[in-house]
Amino acid sequence: MNVQGIVDKTTRGTPRVLVFACRWCALVGADAVGRGRADLPASFRVIPVECAAMVEPDSVLRALASGADGVAVMGCHLGGCRFNDANHVALKRMEALGDLLDAVGIGRRRLLLSFGTAHEGRQFAEVLGAFFRELEPLPSLAAWRKTLLNQPSFR
């Protein structure tokens, strides 16, 4: 099976990113990015959450299965969580999830965890931009899987 061939065929260059953003910090930063009229790729969607700790790893997995090529979880700085360090737990969980994604080859590169304050709008844009660049050479998850399953060797 020519894995690289399928990779090339299913890489679209516009990765789709789902962002879970804490509404006490990351989302405020994102708002400032908007007011600053930055230019970002249009293929990301934001789901506001109350705290990064609220994001279930299951939701991340569900998003990866439902068309997202990457998932970003954005919360407050460690120690700066509105909910008393709840985001430490988020960090540990996402880190463990990254190991699992690595094991099956999806790769933790598709998962981003970032910490910022409400004042760090520029960081939001930079982090997101870097994440897009990271995902660009990767195949589209859904298309790749579909192509792979249709390979004769899999039948």
């Binding site: 908007g34 249009a42 737990v89």
Partner: protein
């Protein structure tokens, strides 16, 4: 069948250059459940409010999808205004198509329109499943527990009693006063400590609203803001009290510098507290005194400055000079900690009174020499760069305050966090007297070492915070939030589906989830008064039994599944 009305805002031309609102309108109109789509020039101007309500009413819709600017912009206020008219918050969903779409994707109109469409569809998905938490209301007990009868505790207790509420003032010792009983005078006013204390103790004695519990400890506590059940134990028996708020003002302990600077070996090496006792009893005859600051503070074991030691030494140094103008008094210090205008003036008054200040470097601490009694103190004067030998009759070690060992117990009982040094820790610097637990407030040196004056200020501040709860008859769970509209909701645990694994209990930062035994098995229950709606529990529940109705998994799942639906089609 009731449905959704979608109201799209043009934002006076801010949206349309990037997003094709007409196409969006047609696309959303086709979505199941949408009964009406409106496009308006603006939503937030004073004249728009009534028009929006009219549009909603005439459409017959029971849920509203707003596509406008972000929740931090004017649209947030529009949502609040709609809610203020009695529309349930879970029935309004705001989608940000300005800051989050039109303003950042100006280059690609197709992609931006597709994104706006996805965002609206996500909003529709959310509206379909979003729920609303039921509120809980408790009757507030018009009483307050104040733990500790030192400067902070006395100020708090007296204030609350004066405001008309019953106070239970619990003190470990036989009488109130705390640190003020141990010292001679109070800086920076140099008023006698007993003088300062007397009106407080008289009021505790006199005011029928203050129940003083001496030689008493708190042994158990349950409950939440508005209704704590606390058990107090003393030699005369246990008492149960029910209070609406709790103020922790247990003060701090003194630290004995055993082995440091020959303390315990030479009898003229004293701690500050011992000097205070001698001052109180008028037994200070030393002609030549040397104070050593930071004795056991700002060191690896206690890496903090205890705030009150520098001014206390200055106070005593000046008092010694005043009592005997010939007395030689030297303060050896690393930094003189007298912030602010009052203390800085106090420091200067010591200089004027002839107190000598010698700065030493932490690497070269002073040495006390003498056989059997203090003869002199050798110190390397860092400022002039010379070694000095100061003759001394007594050496006073300025030791820091340390956290009470009892703090750990109280912290566990009231679910209040401690800091690295064992003092009670506040929530944010901006809310210095409030803790993670609603209804539990901290003040005085139990929070962080402070002067008696500042402790009293904090005690009054904590009393004010407690009064804000006591002043009402009923307290609702929804109101236990910093936001006017109430918190996002609170965790709800479905009966019958909880396996009792305890994950939610382990992660809850507010101890809102607890395990209860039902039959032979455990199930978790969420306390609405304590829950702050962070959602930590919902993320660790293995089968999704814990949910926050306002942000439940089904609603989020609907958003996730629709996040890229239009992007794919396009």
């Amino acid at each position: 069948m009731p449905g959704v009305i979608a109201i799209l805002c043009r934002c006076c031309g801010q949206i349309e250059p990037a997003v094709d609102l007409q196409a969006l309108r047609e696309r959303i109109d086709r979505e199941a459940g949408v009964v009406s789509v409106e496009v308006r020039d603006s939503l937030c101007l004073p004249e728009d409010g009534a028009a929006i309500v009219k549009a909603v009413e005439s459409s017959g819709a029971d849920r509203i999808l707003l596509a406008a600017c972000s929740q931090y912009g004017k649209a947030g206020a529009v949502v609040s205004a709609l809610c203020a008219r009695g529309i349930d918050r879970s029935r309004v969903r705001l989608v940000d198509i300005r800051e989050g779409c039109a303003w950042i994707h100006r280059g690609d109109r197709t992609a931006a329109t597709a994104k706006a469409c996805d965002l609206l569809c996500m909003g529709l998905g959310f509206l379909r499943y979003g729920g609303c938490s039921t509120d809980a209301v408790v009757a507030v007990r018009p009483e307050c527990l104040v733990a500790g009868a030192g400067s902070a505790g006395l100020a708090a207790a007296v204030s609350i009693a004066r405001a008309g509420f019953q106070v239970h003032l619990v003190e470990r010792a036989a009488e109130g006063g705390g640190m003020l009983k141990l010292i001679s005078r109070v800086y920076p006013t140099d008023v006698e400590a007993a003088e300062k204390l007397r009106p407080y103790l008289e009021e505790v004695e006199r005011n029928p609203r203050i129940a003083f519990h001496p030689k008493t400890r708190v042994v158990s506590a349950t409950g939440f803001a508005g209704d704590f059940k606390v058990r107090l134990a003393s030699a005369t028996g246990d008492v149960n009290v029910r209070v609406g708020a709790v103020i922790l003002a247990t003060g701090a302990g003194v630290w004995l510098p055993r082995g440091l600077y020959r303390y315990g070996e030479l009898k003229e090496v004293l701690t500050l507290m011992e000097l205070e006792r001698r001052q109180r009893e008028g037994k200070t005859a030393a002609k030549r005194s040397v104070f050593i600051q930071c004795a056991g503070a700002r060191c690896p074991e206690r890496p903090y400055c205890a705030t009150m030691c520098c001014p206390s030494s200055i106070k005593n140094a000046v008092l010694l000079r005043k009592a005997d103008p010939d007395a030689e008094v030297t303060i050896l210090h690393r930094d003189i900690m007298t912030p602010g205008h009052i203390l800085e003036r106090y420091y200067r008054s010591a200089l004027e009174a002839g107190v000598r200040f010698v700065r030493f470097a932490v690497e070269e601490p002073p040495m006390i020499s003498g056989e059997g009694h203090v003869e002199h103190v050798e110190v390397f004067d860092a400022i002039s760069g010379v070694k000095r030998e100061i003759e001394a009759d007594q050496v006073v070690l300025s030791t820091p305050l340390v956290a009470n060992a009892d703090n750990a117990k109280l912290a566990e009982l009231f679910h209040v966090p401690l800091d690295d040094y064992g003092f009670f820790r506040e929530d944010y610097p901006l809310h210095p007297l409030e803790t993670r637990q609603g209804g539990v407030f901290i003040c005085g040196s139990a929070r962080w070492p402070v002067s008696s004056g500042e402790a009293a200020t904090q005690g009054e501040g904590a009393a004010m915070k407690a009064l804000a709860i006591l002043c009402r008859e009923k307290l609702s769970a929804r109101s236990m939030s910093r936001l006017p509209e109430g918190k996002l909701g609170h965790a709800r645990i479905e009966d019958g589906a909880c396996s009792g694994c305890g994950n939610c209990v382990a992660v809850c930062p507010y101890e809102a989830c607890t395990l209860q035994r039902v039959g032979g098995a455990f199930v978790s229950r969420a306390n609405k008064m304590r829950c702050r709606a962070c959602g930590s529990c919902t993320a660790v529940c293995p089968n999704g039994t814990v949910q926050m109705p306002e942000h439940n998994a089904r609603a989020v799942g609907a958003m996730i599944r629709r996040a890229f639906a239009e992007g794919d089609a396009g």
